[in-house]
Homo-oligomer: 359 residues x 2
Amino acid sequence: MTHDHPPESITLKDIAKATGVSRTTVSNAFNRPDQLSPELRHKILSIAQQMGYLAPNPMGRMLRTGRTGAIGLVFHDSLSYAFADPTAIAFLQGVAKICETAQASLLIVPVLEDRSVQQTVQQAAVDGFIVYCLPNQSDAFTQVLKRQLPVVVVDQPTVKGFPSVAIDDRHAAYTAATHLLKLNHQRLAIISLEFQDTVPSGRVDRQRIQTASFPITQQRWQGYMDAICEAGLDPEAVLIEECAGNSEESAFQATLRILSHTPRPTGILAMSDRLALGALRAARQLGLSIPADLSIVGFDDIPLAAQVQPRLTTVHQPLIEKGTIAAELLLKNVPAHSSRVLPTELMIRESSGVAPTRD
Amino acid sequence: MTHDHPPESITLKDIAKATGVSRTTVSNAFNRPDQLSPELRHKILSIAQQMGYLAPNPMGRMLRTGRTGAIGLVFHDSLSYAFADPTAIAFLQGVAKICETAQASLLIVPVLEDRSVQQTVQQAAVDGFIVYCLPNQSDAFTQVLKRQLPVVVVDQPTVKGFPSVAIDDRHAAYTAATHLLKLNHQRLAIISLEFQDTVPSGRVDRQRIQTASFPITQQRWQGYMDAICEAGLDPEAVLIEECAGNSEESAFQATLRILSHTPRPTGILAMSDRLALGALRAARQLGLSIPADLSIVGFDDIPLAAQVQPRLTTVHQPLIEKGTIAAELLLKNVPAHSSRVLPTELMIRESSGVAPTRD
DNA sequence: CTGTTAGCGCATTCAA
DNA sequence: TTGAATGCGCTAACAG
């Protein structure tokens, strides 16, 4: 009574034949218990089990129903990088939480920004995509759009036509800069995230900023500038260094360069906490005491921000909530006008203080 | 020239009709460029694009080919919890790295340990599963097995018949305990991970240990005991507290209880760095200085371990590599005997020192 | 409560 | 090089 076929060849039909009922009835036994008598159902299920048939083949089902039970997630960065970024992790945590309660799986789709992007995004068996912080007009984003599926966009405020979740980066950055300005800082420097998808050279010119493909970088920069201009300082006098890939190491190097200027800046605005941590390390290496000699303000409020010494003054943004809301929007398949802007809050801790008196 | 049909209804057949060729040829245009003339291919592709057809439907393809291009990942814990655990994150990072180079997607499958487990694991459209630290005989694991797909097992040394990747937990724990014993510690306590899938009560009896459903907990405990017995100490005198879900808070509470004993233990063996960090915090709250009053040894060597003050003495295990190797084993579809045991290394830092002299 | 019919969209024979 | 035929495994109508 054993079959020669490999196990995967056992199908609904086989067990229908063995049970003496129709395929429909077997299908119902698995998917619609109320559609047949408990006894029959039990009999079918037990025969199925004997035959090593455990559940309807997911691909057959997906093709038939058009639903996959999974949502896709596309990151800008290389995946291994994304999983090393506390910001992305926290976001993921939020997404995962909703997936879990909704019993949806989460398909993380790698994109290489080569030709091959097509492969993975096109082949993804998902009911919709969450797109996290992709640069505008990236190949990956184009591919996602082509899938004609529901999309929720995160941290790309300039993309229209899709529900999105974001924060007011400009305003948040404004509050960070204002904080330092109120503490009498006159010489500020900015440690920036990437403006463009191309590898940064360090130097940032106006052109690069205006045509930024990462809106959040642009917005945060703008927020800093709003505050700086409002305070009557010369925007041109503000040093700015663009760091590659939100890396602490890159920020470390950038900060060393910044702090070698004379007169030395007294306040650093970092566009992320990781960058701020890099700056912190650089300052420490130069023997500067914080905040006495140098104030540093971060962005994101990752968990580590409150654990380092000195604890980091930073802009809190609800990272996990970003994830939960994005997932909820996607699962509910809401219209574009349901976009959400989440609140931020300046967390004043010990890495910022009154500017040193001019020497 | 617009269509009334929803976009998803455009199919290979439609564009075949529009182009005046057969379905096969269209399929070839997408999947086998060498099977038709460049001109024809180009023509087909451009007509397809005009019609809003962008790529073959992934579900149809999957059903036909039997391949999905995705690998599944099943965690023990709730997903949102897994994404909060540095150990799991690092593992994920490794898996993601390989997925990326192999252009495979990563499907993270939530399991609730209810009935509903079935749903997600059964419906997962994947070519194989990586199973991370599931308790033996868990529902989730059973469901995975039922899928009859390639499986790679991580941190479950007792599961036979599948390729696995793990470390020698027993030996690693042995080195950790030996380290303290050599520093003259006589009164040790263990802050333990969960032995059983059921919520721990704090107290741990022999029964609970022997029948542990988490082999790594059992193995680490055994390793500690090996060293303790070897040193001639009384195993029964070693305090042990079992913490819920590798949480720092739980370890914090457990440590407070442990340190209230008289005579107070001088060395704590924590089965994870997170637990060790909780212990550290508890010790600090009690005003103990480390390592003068109390030595703490962790396990895992998560990034934070080397960043806290004092830096944590701990057992390094190659977390990221666990992920890369697991993914590689799965993608290569290797036989069970290809299992890998990765090396560990005791990292001696500042949280451990010579035992205080007896008072 | 049960069975019949009819595709879902595709890739693969095989024959032309 | 191209095309016709076939079925991957399943579920949704509808009819009994």
